[in-house]
């Protein structure tokens, strides 16, 4: 059966060039980078080459990049690290209502310890309220953490404006750029970012490796302690193959950035136009201006999302309701909720993301099948245009 993968925000396939670069590190160049002999030292050198590539993609210095086991660890580390480092200054953290659970749940963990967290609201397009952000700052505020781009609706935040507010108030600014990386230009220096989370598997690299950018001068305690890897800030034998793969993926992302954005946003717009002209009663969610190039979020009114996903799956079409990691948990998306959408619409919403391997033909096929499926499901839905909810 034809397979059309439209869930690049959940994860991406490892690109051929990336896998090729990784392969020697499993069984040949397998040395422990902390060792003093040849195959150990060369592994260390190769990790540092990967570090330089990731740094270059975001305009950082090499030594400001710390490899982690993924975006989740980077988010946990940044927030818990800032909380511990700034304990004597205060206990207040500002974030947004639409962050990824890696951030939200870490904040909740800290709340149980007595930290206070403000969740700034967003408008119906998913852009945070800058005024509200600035007003929520107190003299106890130690961290502002606002995601660069949202994983469900793709809305890109006004990062520069946020960093200026943070700077003006002498507060550290962290951003979760897991979705933004490789999908929009990022220059951490120009944007005034203090810490930034990244993940390899969203940019055609392997799963289980990510990085935290920590601006030099910022000192936070380790989340994982032990050996003296990563300049003594993140312990654990390095996932050498994974890191090398992340480096290569970053290099490709940088080289292809413009082309990628153009290609993917064209496909996205084609998808949206096509589905709009073939189906009634659908809503396109999010912000068409400040949006990740590949993101499409649609409410198919009167059709429940999981049912739609499963029908699509039988046609080889992959997409998701909300973020992948909550797909299996059947809870309505906190992001769409924060955008002010009613629950029934949230249940009827699907995220599609197109990527580097998507073709126009894929979209023609997908839209055609989706239209058929939606019409079928609507034919026996308890709701309809006539009997609206």
């Amino acid at each position: 059966m034809r397979q059309v993968y439209l869930d690049y925000s959940a994860t991406t396939p490892v690109k051929k060039e990336v896998l090729e670069e990784m392969l020697p590190y499993f069984s040949e160049k397998f040395g422990n980078p902390s060792s003093l002999y040849g195959i150990g030292l060369s592994a260390k050198t190769d990790i540092n080459k990967a570090r330089a590539k990731v740094a270059h993609l975001i305009g950082a210095e090499d030594r400001e990049i710390y490899f982690t086991s993924g975006g989740t660890e980077a988010d946990n580390w940044a927030v818990i690290g800032a909380a511990r480092a700034k304990k004597s200054k205060g206990n207040h953290i500002i974030t947004s209502a639409i962050e990824h659970h890696a951030l939200l749940n870490t904040c909740q963990y800290l709340e149980k310890e007595g930290y206070e967290v403000t969740y700034v609201s967003v408008d119906s397009k998913g852009r945070i309220n800058l005024d509200e952000l600035e007003k929520s700052i107190t003299d106890k505020t130690i961290l502002i953490s606002i995601m660069f781009a949202n994983n469900e609706v793709g809305t890109i935040q006004p990062i520069k404006e946020i960093s200026e507010i943070a700077k003006r108030n002498g507060i550290w600014f962290h951003t979760d750029a897991v979705q933004a990386l490789g999908n929009t230009p990022i220059d951490v220096k120009a944007l005034g970012i203090d810490m930034m989370s990244m993940s390899a598997h969203k940019i055609y690299g392997p799963k289980g490796v990510g990085a935290l950018y920590i601006r030099k001068g910022i000192i936070i305690p380790s989340l994982l302690s032990g050996g003296s890897q990563e300049n003594k800030r993140r312990a654990g034998t390095e996932n050498v193959a994974g890191i090398v793969g992340f480096g290569k993926a970053a290099e490709l992302a940088e080289a292809n950035l413009e082309e990628h954005i153009k290609k993917v946003s064209d496909l996205r717009n084609y998808f949206i136009e096509k589905i709009k002209s073939n189906l009634e009663d659908i809503d396109i969610n999010g912000d068409m201006e400040n949006r990740l190039p590949g993101n499409i979020n649609i409410t198919f009114n009167y059709v429940e999302g999981e049912a739609l996903l499963l029908y699509m799956d039988t046609k080889g079409i992959s997409a998701s309701t909300g973020s992948a990691c909550s797909s299996a948990s059947f809870t309505p998306s906190h992001v769409l909720h924060a955008l002010g959408m009613p629950l029934e619409k949230i249940y009827s919403s699907i995220r599609f993301t197109v990527g580097d391997f998507t073709t126009k033909d894929d979209i023609d096929y997908a839209v055609e099948e989706i239209v058929k499926i939606v019409n079928k499901l609507r034919s026996f839905s308890a709701f309809s245009k006539e009997r609206s909810w």
């Binding site: 429940e304 049912a307 499963l310 039988t314 009613p342 029934e344 249940y347 034919s379 026996f380 308890a382």
Partner: protein, 146 residues
């Protein structure tokens, strides 16, 4: 690979009795769109026996599959027999549902009860199986909250 077994997928992909009928003898519904699940059921009844059933469901795979299998199972049954069926019977008939999805089958049970209640009310029947049925009961969120 799917989260549901083949039988569930079959009922989900090819739902039996989906849609509406003309002049139903009984109509019932259960659920709420804000909970992500809503089922409407229509019945044709002759001599106390359900001779036809149709459903319309807004809901996930297991809600649709349960609607399908439930309408199949009640056809040919007396009202009392139909009232005896619980969501467990539907789940068993489907060969099982994933843990967090079992509650979705309650939808069908309750919608059927609601339709028969409607019929009993219109026809002045007193049915043992409706003794504990409260048509105005608040719809509980039958999804696992996690």
């Amino acid at each position: 690979m799917s989260m549901y077994n083949e039988k569930v997928m079959d009922h989900f992909m090819n739902p039996r009795n989906a849609g509406a009928m003309e002049d139903p003898d009984a109509v019932g519904s259960y659920g709420s769109p804000v909970c992500g699940d809503m089922m409407e059921i229509q019945l044709k009844i002759e001599n106390n026996v359900i001779i036809d059933a149709k459903f319309k469901t807004f809901g996930c795979g297991s809600a649709i599959a349960s609607s399908s299998v439930a309408t199949e199972m009640i056809k040919g049954k007396t009202l009392e027999e139909a009232l005896d069926l619980t969501n467990k019977n539907f789940v068993d008939e489907l060969g099982g549902l994933p843990g967090p999805k079992i509650h979705c089958s309650v939808l069908a049970e309750q919608a059927i009860k609601s339709a028969i209640y409607d019929y009993a009310k219109k026809n002045g029947l007193e049915l043992e199986g409706l003794k504990d049925f409260d048509p105005d009961s608040k719809f509980d969120d039958h999804h696992d909250k996690e």
